[in-house]
């Protein structure tokens, strides 16, 4: 019967062996495709709702007063609910960061590349270990700064140097330097 239908609709014949595409096959494919696209479109909102909502994105800048941070001291600020380390490096710390050969670094970056021009003493990084996201120690007085004098992550033993660069342990990258700018000599805007 199908063969008769095909010959009646000669324009729908395909293939040399006579396996023709019937009008019903076309309708099946079209209907299922239409329903498939529609289902995917209907599921899309259920997936995109997972992404960060507008109120989370709205917290994307933070202003911090850095006038009280003495050389050698550091503070924790909060940006996008994540800790940010703001550290006033001592001349000795800057010198030791600059003394490291690029070849010794897992993620080669100089201190100058990680700070603003003329503000080499202000090291501003996320306080989020690039391994699995713990907050490294080394901001507070007397905290363990690890073998390289910067930061030390207690979770899996990653050690960062005085430029916040990864030097030993499992973390793959340097502490992230967020986007920031100096609004005045004593105020930075992060984000």
């Amino acid at each position: 019967m199908a063969t008769q239908a095909q010959s009646a609709e000669g324009s729908q014949h395909t293939g040399a062996n006579g396996d023709g595409v019937r009008r019903r096959d076309f309708l099946n494919v079209a209907a299922v495709s239409f329903a498939g696209v529609g289902t995917v479109a209907a599921l899309a909102p259920l997936v995109v709702q997972m992404a960060p909502p507008a109120d989370v994105l709205a917290l994307s800048t933070t202003e911090v007063d850095i006038s009280k941070i003495q050389p050698g001291q550091a503070i924790k600020a909060v940006w996008r609910k994540q800790p940010v380390f703001i550290r006033n490096l001592t001349p000795a710390e800057i010198k030791s960061a600059n003394a490291v050969a690029m070849g010794d670094l897992r993620d080669p970056q100089s201190l100058a590349q990680r700070t603003k021009p003329g503000k080499a003493n202000w090291l501003i990084t996320l306080g989020v270990c690039t391994h699995l996201g713990c907050v490294p120690l080394g901001v507070g007085e007397g905290e363990n700064r690890g073998p390289f004098g910067g930061y030390f992550c207690p979770c899996h033993g990653s050690a960062y140097d005085t430029a916040g660069r990864i030097r030993s342990g499992p973390a793959p990258l340097n502490l992230t330097v967020p986007e920031y700018s100096f609004l005045s000599p004593t105020t930075v805007q992060i984000g």
């Binding site: 989370v56 909060v78 609910k81 979770c155 499992p170």
Partner: protein
């Protein structure tokens, strides 16, 4: 499904007959866990843990539904609502401790169940899908347990969420956007807590669904047994009810007594005191470790410390996932036709070495990372993969197994030919071994 001698369901009461013609649910239950399911007569106590796992799933669902009536899934309210359950809600302390320790006991019985399958070759044909569905249940259990641990929003909860979602950031390019997508923010926060609560409530029911598939797939060939020899005739089996319902019943009562002892007398033994400190996104506890049932995998994660083509962090995450995913291929890695480890002298030794290796990984996962701990976990991780990928295939090829008993009933009777067919052995009910 099932053997030809399985007893047929015959409803006697008129109502049951009426029911059977319309909705044969009692027939289904009779064939699945009643007198209509013939089970090898030689099962040892390691075969009790599947039923126990089902019991703990039900305990978790029941206690969890009650806890959800009092719990607030808000970052400001979650911790206090848990304290409120502990201090003010009638019997709240009991229900929460039962739920927290119930999770640990669920994993204890599941691990024994898995190791029983490994030793007795329960993953081999024709039970490959039973094994793989079991692994799906195990993965779902891990996801559920992790998300449940986040809900009290204590320090360990928060940092578990941070570290475990951090696994995903190891993947190149898509990793960090994926992590942010899963968290619904840049760090664990309200969006994370609410979605974890929603999924923590959902997944146990998904587990229950996969459990049904697991049992369905099991009941096609029927249960395995300690000899690994196939069931041949009715002499080899006993009906599940009353024989195994009785054995499972008393054993479950005994095991639940152990669970009660821990829940009442040492409810925090398996937990971490730091989780009684409210979550602080700015301060990581000095030593964070996962719950005990994740420690071997945590050790594998931590054992990769050197970049080799890929970053060490990605290696750690890949190895951790691979350590479970490779178990899906176990039926094809171990090609020995002999199922039971009892008849495989070399396999048996390496099985126990693997057990020791897993214990070492558990220890290394919980230890403070130092050069010695890292070295130990590297060796133990290497051995874990070596066991499954190299040692098992080699044993299957070169081992000479011990002679198998010709039937289950012969093995029950220690192979004494005179006793293997005593008069009246057709009688059902363990009487063969004890009669006369």
């Amino acid at each position: 499904m099932s053997f030809s001698w399985a007893k047929k369901y015959e409803p006697k009461h008129p109502f049951m007959k009426w029911m059977d013609e319309r909705l044969p649910l009692p027939r289904l239950v009779y064939g699945a866990i009643g007198g209509g399911y013939p089970v090898p007569r030689n099962l040892n106590y390691f075969w009790n843990f599947g039923v126990l796992a089902g019991i703990f799933l039900m305990i978790q669902i029941l206690t969890g539904i009650v806890l959800a009536m009092w719990y607030f899934s808000s970052v400001d309210g979650a911790f206090n609502s848990v304290e409120h359950i502990m201090r003010d809600v009638n019997a709240g302390w009991l229900i929460r401790y039962a739920h927290a320790n119930g999770a640990s006991f669920f994993f204890i019985v599941t691990y024994i169940h898995i190791f029983r399958g490994l030793y007795y070759g329960s993953y081999k044909a024709p039970r490959e899908l039973v094994w793989m569905l079991g692994l799906v249940i195990y993965l779902l259990m891990m996801a559920t347990a992790f998300m449940g641990y986040v809900l009290p929003w204590g320090q360990m909860s928060y940092w578990a969420a941070q570290v475990i979602t951090g696994f995903f950031s190891a993947f190149p390019l898509i990793g960090e956007p994926l992590r942010v997508f899963l968290l619904g923010g840049y760090a664990p926060d309200q969006a994370t807590l609410t979605r974890f609560f929603s999924l923590h409530y959902l997944l146990p029911f998904v587990i229950a669904g996969v459990v049904i598939l697991h049992i369905w797939a099991l009941h096609i060939p029927g249960s395995s047994n300690p000899t690994g020899v196939d069931v041949k005739d009715e002499k080899d089996t006993l009906p599940f009810h009353p024989f195994y319902t009785a054995k499972d019943g008393w054993f479950a009562a005994g095991f639940l007594a152990l669970y009660a002892v821990v829940t009442f007398y040492a409810p925090n033994m398996l937990g971490h005191p730091d989780n009684y400190i409210p979550a602080n996104p700015l301060s990581t506890p000095a030593h964070i470790v996962p719950e005990w049932y994740f420690l071997p995998f945590y050790a594998i994660l931590k054992s990769f410390t050197v970049d080799f083509i890929l970053p060490a962090k990605l290696w750690g995450v890949l190895a951790m996932f691979a350590s479970i995913l490779l178990l899906f291929f176990l039926p094809w890695l171990d090609k020995s036709p002999v199922r039971s480890g009892a008849y495989r002298p070399i396999f048996k030794r390496f099985f126990w070495i693997l057990m020791v290796d897993v214990v070492i990984l558990t220890w290394a996962g919980g230890a403070v990372p130092g050069p010695m701990v890292v070295a130990v976990s590297q060796v133990a991780t290497l051995y874990y993969f070596l066991h499954f990928l190299v040692i098992l295939p080699l044993i299957a090829r070169y081992e000479t197994p011990l002679p198998l008993p010709s039937s289950i009933s012969e093995s029950v009777l220690h192979g004494e030919a005179a006793e293997s067919a005593p008069a009246g052995s057709r009688r059902r009910g363990g009487s063969v071994a004890t009669a006369e």
